[in-house]
C-alpha cells in the first residue's frame, strides 16, 4: 500500500495501461511535454515518447474526433480536454461521432476511447468552473464516470481504458490533491457500480465527485446528533447503479441527492424519477436535491461560497427531512 494523490492515481492508471496494452495512447493539448495542465500525465512523455503521448494544437474538436476515429481502427486513445467547460467544443464529436459510431455501423465498430476532463468550481471564473456532467449523461452510447477517491480514480480509469465504449471521465479539480492508500498491485473498479461510502439507516445521500467528501463530513456532524446518513458515491453516472440506490432508499426511506451542477436538468432529477417510481411506497419524505442554483459560476470566493453546496446545506436539509429534529436545531439544541 502507498499513499498517493488522486491526480497521481490517474497518472499511474494511464501509465500502467500503456505498459499493459500498446494500443493505448494519450492525445490532448499540453498533455505531453508540458506534463498536463493539472499534471496528471506528468512523466509519461519522457517515458513513452511523442508518438504515444501526443501533443496537439488547440483543436479540441479535431483531437477528440481523431480519438474516436483511431478507436474505430483498433487503438485505445485516452484523450484529454483541459477543462470540462471546453467540452462544448467537442460536443459534436461526442454526440454525433463517438457515441453513434457503433450504432450506425450496426455493431461492426467498437469505440474504446476515454475522454478525460477536469471540472468543478475552484475559483477559476465563469469559463473554468462548471459541472456539466448531465449534458453528457443525456447521450446514449457513452458512459460517464466521476471518481471521488484516489483508489476509485485509479481503478475506474483502468476499467474505462479497457472498456470497449466511449467513456467520459470527469475529475473534480478539488479532488486532485486528495490522498488515499492504494494497493501496489493491479486492480480495477468496475464501471456501473456505486459504492456505499458510509452505511446508515436514517437517510440516503446519493452524490459523486467532490460532494462525496462534503456528504461524509456532514454525516460526521449529523452522527453527533444521532442521525445516521448512508452515503452512496455513484462513481459511474452512466450506466447508473439503480439497484444500489433503490435498495438503500427502501432501507432509509429518505433520499437526498447532492450535486455541484446547477439544479435545473441536473442528473439529480433523473435519480429522483427512478426512486419515486421504484421506491415510492417506502418514502417518508419528498426527495430533496441539494444543488448549485441556476447561475453562472462566479470567481470571487464569498460569491462561490454562497452558491456551491456545502456541509451546512447538507446538514440543514437532512435535519428538515428527518422531521422531528428540525425543532431541536431551531431551539439551539
Amino acid at each position: 500500500m502507498r499513499e498517493i494523490t488522486l491526480a497521481r492515481a490517474l497518472g499511474e492508471a494511464i501509465r500502467e495501461e500503456m505498459i499493459r496494452d500498446d494500443t493505448v495512447f494519450i492525445i490532448g493539448v499540453e498533455v505531453g511535454l508540458y506534463g498536463g495542465c493539472f499534471r496528471v500525465t506528468e512523466g509519461l512523455f519522457d517515458e513513452f515518447g511523442a508518438e504515444r503521448v501526443i501533443d496537439t494544437p488547440i483543436s479540441e474538436s479535431a483531437l477528440v474526433g481523431a480519438a474516436a476515429g483511431a478507436a474505430v481502427m483498433g487503438m485505445k486513445p485516452v484523450a484529454e480536454v483541459m477543462y470540462q467547460d471546453f467540452a462544448t467544443l467537442v460536443m459534436d464529436q461526442i454526440l454525433n461521432g463517438a457515441a453513434k459510431l457503433r450504432y450506425v455501423h450496426a455493431g461492426q465498430a467498437t469505440v474504446p476511447m476515454v475522454l478525460r476532463a477536469p471540472f468543478g468550481a475552484s475559483g477559476a471564473g465563469a469559463h473554468h468552473s462548471q459541472s456539466i456532467e448531465a449534458m453528457f449523461c443525456h447521450i446514449p452510447g457513452v458512459k460517464v464516470v466521476i471518481p471521488s477517491t484516489p483508489y476509485d480514480a485509479k481503478g475506474l480509469l483502468k476499467s474505462a481504458i479497457r472498456d470497449p465504449n466511449p467513456v467520459l471521465f470527469f475529475e473534480h479539480k478539488l479532488t486532485y490533491g486528495i490522498k488515499d492508500e492504494i494497493p501496489d498491485e493491479d486492480y480495477t473498479v468496475s464501471l456501473g457500480k456505486a459504492d456505499i461510502k458510509l452505511q446508515g439507516k436514517d437517510l440516503t445521500i446519493v452524490t459523486w465527485g467532490l460532494m462525496v467528501h462534503k456528504a461524509l463530513n456532514a454525516a460526521a456532524e449529523l452522527a453527533k446528533k444521532g442521525i445516521e446518513l448512508e452515503v452512496i458515491d455513484l462513481r459511474t453516472l452512466v450506466p447508473l447503479d439503480t439497484a444500489t440506490i433503490v435498495s438503500s432508499v427502501k432501507k432509509t426511506s429518505r433520499l437526498m441527492i447532492v450535486h455541484e451542477a446547477c439544479k435545473t436538468g441536473g442528473y439529480g432529477s433523473e435519480i429522483t424519477d427512478i426512486v419515486t417510481r421504484e421506491a415510492f411506497g417506502y418514502l417518508d419524505s419528498p426527495v430533496h436535491r441539494v444543488a448549485t442554483p441556476d447561475t453562472t459560476i462566479p470567481f470571487s470566493r464569498p460569491l462561490l461560497e454562497a452558491i456551491i453546496p456545502d456541509e451546512k446545506d447538507i446538514v440543514a436539509v437532512a435535519l428538515s427531512m428527518t422531521g422531528n429534529r428540525i425543532t431541536e436545531v431551531e431551539n439551539g439544541i
Binding site: 476515429g69 483511431a70 481502427m73 483498433g74 459534436d92 459510431l101 457503433r102 450506425v104 450496426a106
Partner: protein, 326 residues
C-alpha cells in the same frame, strides 16, 4: 499504371454509379424509397477516380455525395440499395441512411450527418494506421461547404502537424445547398487553403477521372513518404440535380445556363469519348455496359424491395458494446 482493363472498369463504375443515382432519384419521386437522396450525378469521376487505385485495407470516409466510393470500395449495389430502402442489411441494419453507412471490413467508415464533422474521424483513422505502422492510406471526402467549418481547419492542420497518411479530397461542386462558394469564401481555389497548413494543395478537373486518379495517386505517394505528408486535393465539379430532392434542379440560386454548360462537361461522356478515340471502348461495349449496369441496378431494386425490414426488437442493440471480462 492504368491498363486498358482498368480504364474500362473505371468507366463501368461511373456508369453504375450514375444508374444507381438516377434510379434512386426516380424511385424517390414515386415514393418508393424513403431516403432523401443527395444525388451525386455529375460528380461520379471523383469517387471512382479517387477510390479505384485503393487497396481493400485502405480507408475511406465518404461525404454525403460520394456514392461511388461505396460501390468501388466493394459494397454490392443491391446492399446499398437495400440500405436506402431502410431494409435489413449487415452494414447498418436500417439504423442509418445509405449515404452515411460504413463497412469496416471494406475500409469504409460511416461519416456523420454534420457537415465537416466526419473529417476529425478520418484524421483519427489515419492516426491509428500511423501508430500501428501499417501502410494504410485514409482518403477523406467532403464538399466545398465543409471547408468553411472549424472541423476542416482543425483537422487538416492536425493531420499536417502530426504528419499523417491521409488524402483530403474536396468535391467542389461550387454550392453548399443554395450558397455558392463565391458567397462563402474569398479564395478562388479551395486548394489554396492548403498553404495555411503547410501541405500541398492540388487543383484538378473533378470531371476528368484520370486527373482525379493521378492526383490521388500522387498524394498517396506523399502520404507514404518519410515523413508522411497529407495533401488537399480540390476537384472542381458540379452537381446536376438539386441539393436533395427537396431542392428543385434549377433552384433560384443558380441559372439554367450554368447547369447546361456543366452538363456539357459530363465526366462520363468526357471519358467515353476519350476511350472511343483511343480505341479502348467500342460502340458495342458501351451499349453492353449500359445494359449490364441497368440490369444490375434493376436487380438491386428488386433485392431491396424483397429484403425484409429490420426486426424492431433489435432497435436498442449496438448503442453499447458488451464489456468482456478482462
Amino acid at each position: 499504371m492504368l491498363h486498358k482493363d482498368d480504364l474500362i472498369k473505371m468507366y463501368r463504375w461511373m456508369v453504375l454509379t450514375r444508374t444507381f443515382e438516377l434510379t434512386m432519384n426516380d424511385l424517390y419521386q414515386h415514393g418508393r424509397v424513403p431516403e432523401l437522396q443527395h444525388c451525386s450525378v455529375g460528380q461520379e469521376a471523383i469517387g471512382v477516380g479517387a477510390c479505384y487505385g485503393l487497396r481493400p485495407e485502405d480507408v475511406v470516409m465518404p461525404s454525403l455525395r460520394t456514392r461511388a466510393a461505396f460501390l468501388v470500395k466493394g459494397v454490392p449495389s443491391k446492399i446499398l440499395m437495400a440500405a436506402a430502402f431502410a431494409k435489413e442489411t449487415k452494414l447498418c441494419g436500417g439504423k442509418n441512411t445509405s449515404h452515411h453507412l460504413g463497412d469496416l471490413s471494406l475500409g469504409i467508415i460511416a461519416g456523420t450527418g454534420i457537415v465537416g464533422g466526419s473529417i476529425p474521424l478520418a484524421v483519427g483513422a489515419a492516426l491509428a494506421c500511423k501508430l500501428k505502422k501499417t501502410d494504410q492510406i485514409t482518403v477523406c471526402f467532403f464538399g466545398d461547404g465543409a471547408t468553411n467549418t472549424g472541423n476542416f481547419h482543425e483537422s487538416v492542420n492536425l493531420a499536417a502537424v502530426l504528419s499523417l497518411p491521409i488524402v483530403f479530397v474536396c468535391e467542389n461542386n461550387q454550392y453548399a445547398m443554395g450558397t455558392s462558394a463565391k458567397r462563402s469564401m474569398l479564395v478562388d481555389n479551395i486548394a489554396d487553403r492548403a498553404a495555411s497548413y503547410g501541405i500541398p494543395g492540388v487543383m484538378v478537373n473533378g470531371n476528368d477521372i484520370i486527373a482525379v486518379y493521378d492526383a490521388v495517386q500522387n498524394a498517396i505517394q506523399k502520404a507514404k513518404g518519410v515523413p508522411p505528408q497529407p495533401t488537399l486535393i480540390e476537384c472542381k465539379t458540379y452537381r446536376w440535380y438539386g441539393h436533395s430532392q427537396r431542392d428543385p434542379v434549377d433552384g433560384r440560386y443558380r441559372t439554367k445556363e450554368e447547369i447546361e454548360t456543366w452538363k456539357l462537361r459530363c465526366p462520363i461522356k468526357h471519358f467515353r469519348e476519350y476511350l472511343k478515340r483511343a480505341g479502348i471502348l467500342s460502340e458495342e461495349a458501351i451499349r453492353e455496359t449500359d445494359n449490364e449496369t441497368r440490369l444490375e441496378i434493376e436487380e438491386a431494386v428488386r433485392f431491396a424491395e424483397e429484403t425484409p425490414y429490420p426486426e424492431p426488437g433489435r432497435v436498442l442493440d449496438d448503442n453499447y458494446a458488451p464489456v468482456l471480462e478482462v
